[in-house]
């Protein structure tokens, strides 16, 4: 049988999926072992054991100065910023995306502007954000919104444009008003696409969250990483990176699950990743 037609069993699928992860841990363990042979206190590649201890310390031992459990405070604050930012972006994408995609006059007015705006690297206009929104939470959320909303608006507008023309004509023949078409025809077609846009938007959103927290902050996952980087505490940084990856992965899977549950009809074909 040709290789393209041979399918792994369920168990083998799981095993094959785990191999790259185990290999990465193995590579790390060996590299770390050799570095620590030379210098037992090596900070660059600490042992898995010391990373576990550092993670435990951040998660379960109250901080000496503030008495907080740092990992949870950082996680909560970061997720709050990320969640608020993405909520604003999603709302913008929904309202602007449908307006641009459905109403030609608004499309002519806004589409070229948003397409241009989405190309500005948000980090480069940070000083303007600071002076407009201050150094507090608002500027961090604004950075996430500016970084993610334009692309999400564009992909939502495209999803509206992709609705088959025949369906719209049919709705019009049946005497639907514009508002009825938006609520009964466009929204159901667009909402699953909006969730996909949100899932893809989360990738840059994490980057902007971490950058914003690195610049001026008192808490947050990005704040902690950039703070302890000052003394090369990789034993704290690496578990935090794994933790962020895990959070991002879980968020992504939850949104996928939501989309499958709420819009079953959109997932009838074979789902990709």
């Amino acid at each position: 049988m040709r290789i393209i037609n041979r399918r792994p069993s369920r168990l083998l699928t799981l095993a094959l999926g785990l191999v790259p992860f185990i290999a990465t841990i193995l590579v790390y363990a060996v590299a770390s072992h050799y570095r620590r042979l030379e210098n037992p206190a090596d900070k660059l590649l600490p042992s898995l054991d010391s990373m576990g201890q550092a993670f435990w310390r951040m998660a379960a031992v109250p901080d000496r100065r503030s008495g907080d459990l740092l990992l949870w405070v950082d996680t909560f604050d970061s997720l709050w910023r990320l969640g608020t930012g993405m909520a604003v972006s999603t709302l913008l994408a929904l309202i602007l995306g449908i307006s641009i995609g459905f109403i030609p006059h608004i499309r002519s007015a806004l589409a070229p502007y948003i397409a241009t705006f989405s190309l500005i690297p948000p980090i480069t206009i940070l000083p303007i954000l600071f002076i407009t929104f201050g150094l507090g939470e608002v500027s961090k959320i604004a950075l996430i919104v500016i970084g993610t909303a334009p692309i999400m608006v564009r992909s939502t507008a495209q999803a509206v444009l992709d609705i088959p023309r025949e369906m719209i004509i049919k709705a019009e023949t049946l005497g639907a008003s514009v508002w009825q078409m938006v609520t009964r025809l466009v929204l159901p077609q667009v909402l699953p696409k909006l969730i996909t846009a949100l899932r893809l938007g989360l990738v840059p959103a994490w980057i902007f969250l971490i950058s914003a927290e690195a610049i001026a902050s008192t808490t947050g996952l990005g704040y902690r990483i950039f703070l302890v980087r000052r003394y090369l505490a990789m034993d704290v940084i690496l578990p935090y990176v794994v933790w962020i990856t895990l959070l991002a992965f879980l968020l992504d899977r939850l949104l996928l699950l939501l989309s499958r549950r709420a819009f079953r009809w959109n997932h009838l074909g074979s789902d990709a990743l």
Binding site: A15, V19, I22, A23, L26, V27, Y28, A29, V30, A31, H33, Y34, R35, L37, E38, N39, P40, A41, D42, K43, L44, L45, S50, Q53, A54, R57, R64, R65, L126, P127, F130, I131, G134, L135, G136, A214, I215, A216, S217, T218, Y223, F226, L227, R229, R230, Y231, L232, D235
Partner: protein, 355 residues
Amino acid sequence: MLKSFARASLLAAALSLPLSFSAQAEEKTDFKVCWSIYVGWMPWGYLQDSGIMKKWADKYDINVEIVQINDYVESINQYTAGAYDGCSMTNMDALSIPAGGGVDTTALIVGDYSNGNDGIILKDKTGLADIKGQTVNLVELSVSHYLLARALDTVGLSERDLTVVNTSDADMIAAYATPDVTSVVTWNPLLSEIEAQPNATKVFDSSGIPGEIIDVMMVNTETLADNPDFGKALVGAWYELMGIMSTDSDEGIAARTAMAEASGTDLAGYDAQLATTKMFFTPADAVEFTKSAELPSTMKFVAEFLFDKGILGEGAPSPEFVGVAFADGSVYGDQNNVKLRFDPSFMAMAAEGAL
């Protein structure tokens, strides 16, 4: 599965080879040191560009490459990871990063100390005691943080009386322009830039704690012990340039102008920064400072500050966890874990003209 395991371990071994390649204890002829932009370190760039470094390296039959790294902390991390044989840094960061990370480090050239280059600025307030209850923007765990802690001591306050906000140095000037930022701690050239604003008052600076924020060329102790010529070449080149740049001869002005341009200012701006920096232009001054009785008490302050902030490493039971050795052979902290050494012997050779 088994095959991929074997492959993975092979790959692991192959990948760990370059990673375990660090500054080995052995004789060698090629050396690399790194530096980042700061008034007292600009000579390192000039040494490389002017060929003075090459002249001295040739004298001892070695190669020395001086590399500028754009990010200060990254340069120290690179040195600590073993990518460079030496790096310019402050006494405090040398204790927390390489020494705290088990890399035995020697202070080869004590170049200068901050004498006003770091300062605390309040907006619309004029006394240090007014800082109580404010949020203070600074680079946390840096010398700015140390300066703040020492300044608060002088007015009977502690960090509990205020809120520290970690703020990137790159964004400090923009941050100061926002209404909710009322006090900052930073260093030059940012300090003078912010102080120039109409509502800003500098309420404390490092001239209040002279000799505590020291800028040093740190080198790997083992590399230095196995290759004394490396130390001699660096020290020889450094003090040749110090002799040139401390004068107002054409050569000296040309050197300072080049350094000014490299740091993004002009000769007047650079000279103004030098004025708040106590440079040790002669090796004799540097040796005297390194042998002084104040240095051990400074390092004690620094170690206690680092321990208090939890930076000396987990498992550090006390500020004395990492030993610091001084010129007279005395040690602060753990005798069996000496990782930072102030050794003026190479600078003394320069002072005696023995290089």
